[in-house]
Structure formats: structure tokens, C-alpha cells
Amino acid sequence: MATRQTQGLARLMRAPAIILLFVWMIVPLCMTLYYSFLNYNLLNPGMTSWAGWFNYQYFYTDPAFFEAIWNTLVLVLGVLLITVAGGIGIAMLIDKPIWGQGVVRILVISPFFVMPPVAALIWKNMIMHPSYGVFADVARFFGASPVDWFAQYPLTSIILIVAWQWLPFATLILLTSLQSLDTEQMEAAEMDGAPAHARFLYLVLPHMARAITVVILIQTIFLLGVYAEILVTTNGGPGFASTNLTFLIYRAARLNFDIGGAAAGGIIAVVLANIIAIFLMRAVGKNLD
């Protein structure tokens, strides 16, 4: 493998795949970048002209912009918090040998197989609906007045739905990590006088650090692009209370037919995602070494 000849050959063999991937990535990026500097509206495509930084300025001065960025961050962090904490808890529960373990594990994992719009519709119409949802029934049973979730707590509701979908993924990754924990280590700690909470803090958590990092990184990538759940439940409202950056771009492109504005938003989203990625790699990436 290490000779100069085989290296050259290997490079040649890899080239088509790498070139294809590169083109696949760079062409849409460049087109988006190009569109973002144009006045390009689908309602009036003939009037396309050079816009300079206008689209960016327009996006930046849009009062919804900062709210959308804030909502994006709250959504990502909220879901991460629920899924990591909940995932650790559930993984530790189903790691113990119990009767019907196989069935329980499948049940725990199944929400992951429900596609996002379907999951959101189920939550909207069967669980969170103020008149015939399960939550409303429970509230009435206790004599409280039902909560209109999507009107009163729109972002919280979406965080709940998305967390429900991603909890199985976190649980699965954390469970595999938990199962690779050496039992003799736990026994040694037990003999060393470590109570359960100390064993969790000093052994289980450090052991799972790598898996938690994987969960955080992968989920962040997907959570930055949450869209379907917002579309079928709150439609970004009330106002912009549940609009994240992805949804804001969708509004620009498909409701206002403003291709230039949407492209500028897309570029901003790419920059933002990269900032978050750098931030994350700094914070938790060392666990992957």
C-alpha cells in the first residue's frame, strides 16, 4: 500500500467518487450564492437584476430573523437536553434484564420509524389537541382546563414532538455504549465503596462520553433543519413564535416566491451551521479521539 506507485493508483481510483461528491456539493452552493445576490422573484422572473447585498440586508433587518435564529437554538438545545438526559435514563432502565425485554426495546425504538409529518399530525390531532387530545382528557380528568398547546406554547410543543422522535435514536446509541461497560469495573467500584450515584458519575458517564458526543453531533445536524413538524402543526406561528431559520427560508421561497431572499437566508443558515459545528467540535469533539 505504501509504495509511491500504489498511492498514485489509489488516488486515481478514488478520484471519480471524490470529484462527483465535490461537484454535487459545490454547484448548488455556488448557485445559491449567486442567486443570493440577485433580485429574483418567481412572480416576476423577467425583472431579474443584480441586487448586491440587498437580500442579506433585507433578511438581516427582518424582525423575524433574530427570532428565528433564537428559536433555532432553543429548539436544538431543548431537544438535545431532553433526548440525552432521557436517553441515558431509558437506556439504563432497559439495560437491566427484565421480562419481555425484546418487546420493550422494540417499543422504545419504534417512534424513530414514524416519519416526521405523520408523527407531528398524530401529536397535533390525537395528543395535544385542546378538545379531543389525550393531554386535554388528562387535564379534564384532574379538573383543570385543557391547554391549547400550539397556541400557548408553540415552540415547547414542537420541541416535545421532535424530542419524542429523536429519543429512540439517543437511547439506542447510549444503550450500546452502556452494554460495553465492563461489569468487573462496576464490581470493583462497588467493592471500593462507591454508591450507585457515584458509580454513575465516575464510571458510567465517562464511559458514555463518546456515545453522548456522537448523539449530540448527529442530532444537531438534523435538528438545525427541522421543518416538517413546524409546517404541519403551527405553520411557524403564532406570529413567528415557532419559526426557525429553515422555516423562515421556506416562507421566503415558497410563500413570497423570493428566490434571492431565500438564497441569502440559505447562505446565512450554512454559515450559522458551520459556526455551531466549530463550536461543537471544540466543546465535545475531544471525546472522539
Binding site: 465492563d182 468487573e184 469495573q185 464490581e187 470493583a188 467500584a189 462497588e190 467493592m191 471500593d192 465503596g193 462507591a194 454508591p195 457515584a198 465516575y202 464510571l203 465517562p206 464511559h207 462520553a209
Partner: protein, 333 residues
């Protein structure tokens, strides 16, 4: 203090009885080795004493107090595991400090004990490394260090040397024996290697299928094995066991002769055979004699240099006073 008494201790996993009720007393300061073939329940017995398994019956007394229901931490015992069970993300120093941290030992005292243990175990230069950066022998020493600093009533070793190579094993064996002489703390040591048992123990407990076959000092076991199993298990190379006519001559079901109690001669003797493989080690020679009609092969140990080769016809003569006789139940006569 570290006197441990087992009274009718039994262990069942479901229907399977791993350890039938057994009694055993381990005196303070003794080095006791549990030895037996794999699957004989010796590790389970150790885990019962440690508190890592629940008893199915009987009681465990530590220093006269009933510890049957006590949690592992409360028993005041320290264990060294076969896999060392070090905490991989902690430095050596933190590993050794962990039990003291859990016990709330003051920082200064922790430091003092860590330094002392590190010095005793030659770990001073490695205190800030992670277990992953250490060799097998060093990891073993860290595991022992972690046990020492707790100043336990007794140490429990679960096959601690089986992951080391042969040369290291001999070295660690000496170190553990030395440690026992220095600390004078009770040690219980589990191994399947009878050489480790013979060299280290004050008292050997031979186990088979969860039953205690014999308890005694290494030489007691060597000179007066109580039954055929102990006779065959203790001693290296194994004792030669014959049944049939040769045994009937001594009015026994089975007789046993150790390799060192057989004389080999090219000219005369009691049993005739043919030399198979021979091993010349300089100090000793081992001959594996075949075609005697007594057993498949008979092992003979001879001191000094003996000029015999593959295929030579030889005669073997047992040392009459050193023949072990066993009845039809396998018990010593």
C-alpha cells in the same frame, strides 16, 4: 484483623447447585489459595465472600461478625480482579485514590497513602499515566495498589496473574508473596494453576465441583493427598495413577506414584517399558515411558544426566515407601 468463617455456605443458580453447603475457616494473616480445575466454583466462592453474589444458604462471618447481608463495601475486603478492572479514564493516581475518596479520607492522608503504595509497588513514575498506557504487569500493580490503600481486613485475588506472560507471572508471584510477608494481612487467592498454589499458599483449599476435596498446607497435600483427585491435581508433573493388577498387588483399587519416586534403569527393575519422549532440563530429566501395560504413559523424573533415548527399553522401580493407595471410592487408605 481478618478472620473469615464460612458456615454452610451454598450457592445455586436456579436449579444448578454450584456450591453445595461447605464450611471453612480462614485465620487472620493466612495466605489461602483456592485451587481447582476451571468451573469448580472457586471464583464463585470468592465472589460470595466479597459480597458480589448472594448466598443461597449459610452464613459468612468476618472477624466473628455476621456479614452475610452486608454490602461489598461494608465488609472491609479488597479485591483484585482478573481483568484488573481499572477505571480507564482516570490516571493511576486517581484510580488508587478512588476507594479513599469514596470513604471520605482527608486529602493529605490520601496523598500519603498513595505515595507509600506507589513506592512499594514501583509505580511512582507512572502515577499520572492512564491505565491504557501501562503494561500488563504495571496494571496489575495498580490494581493491587488500589486494594492496599484501603487497608482492608483481607485481600481477595481472582486469578490475578492469568493475563500475564510466563516470566512476568513468576515475578508477580514473588511480589505478592513478599507483600503478604510485609503486610501480614489475610489473603485469599483463586487460581487454577497448582504451581501458584504450591508456591504461595500457607493453606491450600482444593475444590472440585463446588466441594472442598482437601484443606491443608502445600506439603500436606503433596505428601498425603486425601483422594485420587487431589493426588492427580497437586504436583507437577502429575502423579502416575495405576489401577488393575499393579494396584491389587498393594491391595488397593488405585495406586499413585509421583514421577520423582520412580527409579529408571536400563538393566533391571519392576515394570518394563519403552522410553517415548524425553526432556532434558539439565537439573532434571523427564521421561515419558510407554508400553508398560499399566497406563498410557508413565512420567518419570530423574535428577542429573541419564543417558536414555527414544525407543530404549527400560525398567521402572517405585520407591515402596512413597506409594499412595486409594480404595474404590478414590479415598486414601
Amino acid at each position: 484483623m481478618g478472620q473469615i468463617t464460612l458456615q454452610g455456605v451454598a450457592k445455586r443458580f436456579g436449579e444448578v447447585e454450584v456450591i453445595p453447603p461447605l464450611d471453612l475457616t480462614i485465620d487472620d494473616g493466612e495466605f489461602v489459595v483456592f485451587v481447582g480445575p476451571s468451573g469448580c466454583g472457586k471464583s464463585t466462592l470468592l465472589r460470595l465472600i466479597a459480597g458480589l453474589e448472594d448466598l443461597s444458604g449459610g452464613r459468612i462471618l468476618i472477624d466473628g461478625k455476621d456479614a452475610t447481608e452486608a454490602s461489598p463495601a461494608k465488609r472491609g475486603l479488597a479485591m483484585v480482579f482478573q481483568s484488573y478492572a481499572l477505571y480507564p479514564h482516570m490516571s493511576v493516581r486517581k484510580n488508587i485514590a478512588f476507594p479513599m475518596k469514596m470513604a471520605g479520607v482527608p486529602k493529605a492522608e490520601q496523598e500519603r497513602r498513595i505515595e507509600a503504595a506507589a513506592k512499594a509497588l514501583n509505580l511512582t513514575n507512572y502515577l499520572d499515566r492512564r491505565p491504557g498506557q501501562l503494561s500488563g504487569g504495571q496494571r496489575q500493580r495498580v490494581a493491587i495498589g488500589r486494594a492496599i490503600v484501603r487497608e482492608p481486613a483481607a485481600f481477595l485475588f481472582d486469578e490475578p496473574l492469568s493475563n500475564l506472560d510466563a516470566a512476568l507471572r513468576v515475578g508477580m508471584r514473588l511480589e505478592i508473596s513478599e507483600l503478604h510477608n510485609r503486610l501480614k494481612t489475610t489473603m485469599i487467592y483463586v487460581t487454577h494453576d497448582q504451581v501458584e498454589a504450591m508456591t504461595m499458599a500457607d493453606k491450600i483449599v482444593v475444590l472440585q465441583a463446588g466441594r472442598i476435596e482437601q484443606v491443608g498446607s502445600p506439603l500436606e497435600l503433596y505428601h498425603t493427598p486425601r483422594n485420587v483427585f487431589v493426588a492427580g491435581f497437586i504436583g507437577s508433573p502429575r502423579m502416575n495413577l495405576f489401577s488393575g493388577a499393579a494396584a491389587a498387588e498393594y491391595s488397593a483399587q488405585t495406586i499413585g506414584v509421583r514421577p520423582e519416586h520412580l527409579r529408571i534403569s536400563a538393566t533391571e527393575g519392576k515394570w518394563k517399558g519403552r522410553v517415548g519422549v524425553s526432556e532434558h532440563l539439565g537439573s532434571d530429566s523427564f521421561f515419558y515411558v510407554e508400553d508398560t501395560g499399566l497406563a498410557e504413559t508413565i512420567t518419570v523424573r530423574s535428577t542429573g544426566e541419564v543417558d536414555l533415548h527414544h525407543g530404549d527399553t527400560v525398567w521402572l522401580t517405585p520407591d515402596e515407601g512413597k506409594i499412595h493407595r486409594f480404595d474404590k471410592n478414590g479415598d486414601r487408605i
